[in-house]
Symmetry: C2
Subunit: 394 residues, 2 copies
């Protein structure tokens, strides 16, 4: 939901026969032309990029993680610094998640790579209990016990000050059976109602709340969840939970959800950023995406490139010795700072020498690549030529 | 030396009664207004800063290390990429050292921190032999045996393509006695003559060679070395070797050398970048400085600040918990990107969270701080007010 007279709006400018839509999401910190990609600024920074460079790369929106920011520096410190926008120097739209995904995935040891190099080494399971009230977990920063409830997540996100908030939900793992998923779905729905009530109590007209559709890989549950979320006063809707074990299953789930979502609300697909997945999601009516993939891959030397340049994976690995004497930029047709100034051989050298500038430059490229991809997708929707565009990226 | 009709010149615009001078050093890649600070781009990048940001910080010149670049990516690769300027995207003046300092200091295990995190762990002593011909050492990259001679250092530096080159010398450790230092000095002088001969053979009018004054802490040897270097056809002169065990000894050595150097040649003080040392050096006629200190310290959270803000050390340590809720920028009077956009609390958070943006932002500040310091020193020379300026930094 967004309060009456709010600074939020979502306008669908065009729909294509294949289901894609071109939209405009307006927030108090500016407008997002959709489809768009949100970059992950997990702990309050998109790793290695200052806000000025993010803008220079054509970035429209970023996402920050409530779980990490709650633990450090804490929402009170963020609020003292004027909220996330002021703290990060990021002028544009921003989304925070509820903290649930990290609690559950780190709790199950699932995305421990997120916090390797941290003090949790050898003790990844930090989730202690889930009950009707919320989740009890241990802080990876200082080992303290913490409780996250639907209400506290909303209050934390209010203090963090992002434009778009998400309600706490339980992220069921892929292996959860239908029964567990169904019961979890009902609890998530109760949590979303509590989140909405807390949000309405606070009623910040500078923030808007999305609902999250759950239901795992079960189409009937997904439909129930879509109907439930659509019936509540959420401003937008996010597709959460497990999307399956492979691309086919994911495409099936996203397609199902796409059919039953509220047709006029902005729709975010959580944590998905593969090129093919983006094209597929766009055709199911998804407006915005986020994923750590483009920036994380960059730090390890993986540069996103269009099909003709790629190693069959949509990327090139600049660590590879084959680039040691390659004078070309990552992509001669790219206008990013890295492609304008650095050869693949220089990037290879920086990465091999563990110079942090290497990861930074590749991150600049990947961010610009994703932003150009989304620009082109928006153009292609305008000219009904998504298929042709997708072929160029294959 | 610089070839006749060369693109190099050094003009002394003003001298003050206390010995400081305001100059202009012209190179094929632009002009350095002196006194000036050269930033260390050891392996072909000033750690964490792209060339665009270096320019934005008012940087005039950078330095790169022949030793590291010879081992990786190799001078042939650098030359293939168009030389260091093109490779790094750095448009301005650049200096390379001879490789000697790293061979000797890493060889003696002295600056092993430079390459910790590397494969040399537990085997820091890589210098195998020094003789009249040159130095034999092992590569820290692949363990191969390498020889560096005066001639090969010049040839490598020619391929790297910096504007200003340095001849190979033996860097005697502080504990070397007068006898050893005297014999080493003579060999270094022979090496410098060989370097000059090789340089003249190649005769690149786009590069200039400085001589290096040795002699350790022995004033008579320093004087001999100054006279020797002044008598040879070097374009400029650098003060190298051990400057003593404490500040007093260093000031005495630099003051001695300052008296006997060629009065019209540009003078570089190698590896010195403390604020007080810079003010002292400037008064002895030093024109340019370099040091890893401002950028290395930044990566560990040390931000350079004027006296009134400092913790008595010319800096503040942003890792300290006292900055956890500090809404001020590092220095409210600083115009750098970090001070315009980031609070100390945000920087503290980034550093504590090991977000690489933290070190980058503090590096931006420290680079800008050093560049502003040098700007002010140049202004103060113009108005004969160096003492007053120095007091403001205390």
């Amino acid at each position: 939901m967004a309060a009456a007279g709010s600074k939020f709006s979502f306008e669908i400018l065009k729909k294509t026969p294949d289901g894609a839509r071109r939209g405009r999401l307006t927030t108090p910190h500016g407008t997002v032309e959709t489809p768009a990609f949100f970059f992950c600024g997990t702990r309050g920074s998109v790793k290695g990029l200052c806000a000025e460079r993010l803008v220079d790369c054509g970035t429209q929106a970023v996402l920050a993680n409530t779980y990490h920011l709650h633990l450090r520096p804490g929402e009170d410190t963020v609020a003292l610094l004027g909220g996330l926008h002021a703290m990060m120097g990021w002028p544009g739209p921003m989304l925070t998640d509820s903290g649930g995904f990290q609690i559950f995935s780190l709790g199950h040891g699932g995305v421990a790579q997120e916090i390797k190099c941290r003090r949790t080494d050898g003790r990844p399971k930090t989730l202690l209990r889930i009950d009707e009230n919320g989740a009890l977990f241990r802080s990876y920063v200082d080992g303290s016990f913490r409780t996250l409830t639907p209400e506290s997540s909303i209050r934390i996100q209010k203090m963090l000050g992002a434009d778009i908030l998400l309600p706490l939900d339980e992220c069921t793992p892929y292996h959860a059976d239908r029964d567990y998923t169904a019961r979890s779905l009902e609890r998530s729905h109760r949590w979303e109602l509590r989140s909405l009530a807390e949000f309405q109590k606070i009623s910040p007209d500078s923030q808007a709340l999305y609902g999250i559709v759950q239901g795992g890989i079960y189409e009937d549950l997904r439909r129930i969840s879509c109907d439930f979320i659509a019936g509540q006063d959420f401003f937008g809707q996010a597709i959460g939970g497990s999307l399956g074990g492979d691309r086919e299953e994911m495409e099936r789930v996203v397609a199902t959800v796409g059919r039953f979502l509220h047709p006029l609300r902005p729709t975010h697909l959580l944590g998905i950023g593969g090129l093919r997945d983006i094209f597929h999601g766009v055709r199911q009516g998804v407006d915005t995406f986020d994923c750590v993939h483009p920036t994380r891959m960059a730090r390890h030397g993986g540069a996103l490139v269009p099909g003709s340049l790629s190693e069959g994976t949509g990327r090139i690995n600049l660590h590879s010795g084959r680039f040691a004497r390659d004078r070309e930029p990552i992509d001669a047709s790219c206008d990013c700072y890295a492609c304008r100034t650095a050869s693949r051989a220089y990037l290879h050298h920086l990465l091999r020498s563990r110079e942090i500038l290497g990861g930074q430059l590749v991150t600049i490229h990947n961010v610009r690549f994703m932003n150009r991809l989304m620009e082109r997708i928006r153009e292609a929707i305008g000219t009904n030529s998504l298929d042709r565009l997708e072929a160029a990226y294959r």
